[in-house]
Symmetry: C2
């Protein structure tokens, strides 16, 4: 099994994604929020790329959510904080979500065989789900403004490490050099992920805007067992 | 001072290099070999991109060196092993060198203000030289076949860490997220760099071809004090 990490959306070429399981990671905060909303009973998440698309797609009873520059979009029901997707108000509802990087990464991955959403919150379960699909895997870091992002990279390192643990009996578990480097980087920060995320540029930006709690929450490993999967334009809980 | 790491030659955009000091890294083996040849008295290294250019550029008394697919080029005096550039035969000679990735990276950096060649061999001295130039720095990993390479990334992590140590009194030392991740990855392998290089894909490829000694030599930290600098198409020892 080949497990390659792709550094940012710009570097995702269709050829690398076809016939693979793709794990999209946007730790701060899109995939963390999608995982959280599904864990709290949202019926599904419809990720769209633009604000206009979100407005057009929203039907009565939907929740419109998302951000631009980390802030809630005017007129939307919710922003991109996972804490906004925990209450009763989410239960049974469809969420139409647009974020700066994460939703775009999901659409970019649409050539893939299967698309899963990963984050620290569901890292082990996400790795287990991807591993059981028995296809080569691409771990796509959403990044920030088309740039490599520390927090996604660290989470990719954890997920690759977990995939290798699951495949330890296999002769043919391979990763690319970026995957190897990210496993090393994850090992360096193992046991202190919240501190690492609060110190990185994406975490500091959110903390300055008052979202330090979001960063700490998103740094929690394996706190949620839901693995979102892309089915007919929607992210739904993977049925195991 | 801004210190950005660029993952591979393909990602080097001229705008990121202009007005900067660029440190080009090709640990296995171009920059390690260039550093070694200058340390052993070569009068200068002329890096060229193609075999044809090397043949055209070579004058009487020059050494022609380089590789394709890690192997010596037919008709050339030497390959790309640093051990070939240590003897008396190199002393006082100009070396015309063409390698698959490293020489291309040096040419790609030509928009930079100053170009230095870095490797584990001269990491601290290279960082000190770049730091003293007081410009923003780009650390350009040469990579392999346009892909991110583990060994260059690890060396970039060491050099960024060293630059931050030198600038620890400064308020404004900044790196990009890739730089932060690579410092973490370097820290994880600190004290065991030869083992890390022998286990990575580039190191294993060379070991299979009989160059395990090259890999171990190139993993030596601060064993050479020469810092090559690009002057009029040549790599010459930086005069401190």
């Amino acid at each position: 099994m080949q497990v390659d990490v792709i550094a940012s959306v710009n570097e995702a070429r269709a050829i690398e994604l076809a016939n693979r399981t793709v794990i999209v990671i946007d730790v701060l905060r899109a995939t963390s929020t999608i995982i959280t909303a599904l864990a709290h009973g949202a019926s599904g998440i419809l990720p769209v790329e633009t604000v206009q698309q979100a407005k057009q797609a929203a039907r009565d009873g939907d929740i419109t959510g998302g951000e631009r520059n980390c802030k809630k979009i005017p007129g939307f029901d919710a922003g991109n904080s996972p804490f906004e997707y925990m209450g009763e108000s989410v239960y049974g509802k469809r969420v139409v979500l647009t974020t700066s990087n994460g939703t775009r990464a999901i659409h970019k991955a649409s050539k893939a065989d299967v698309i899963l959403a990963g984050a620290f919150l569901n890292a082990s379960e996400c790795a287990r789900t991807a591993y059981q699909l028995r296809k080569d895997i691409a771990v796509l870091c959403a990044g920030t403004q088309d740039e490599f992002a520390f927090e996604d990279a660290l989470c990719a390192g954890l997920i690759v490490a977990e995939l290798f643990r699951l495949g330890r009996q296999e002769q043919e578990m391979r990763t690319n050099d970026l995957g190897s480097i990210l496993v090393s980087a994850y090992r360096h920060h193992e046991g202190a992920i919240p501190e690492a995320l609060l110190a990185c540029s994406g975490g500091m930006r959110l903390a300055k805007l008052g979202y330090a709690n979001d960063v700490e929450y998103c740094a929690g490993i394996d706190t949620v067992s839901v693995v979102p999967v892309w089915v007919q334009q929607m992210m739904l809980p993977f049925a195991t």
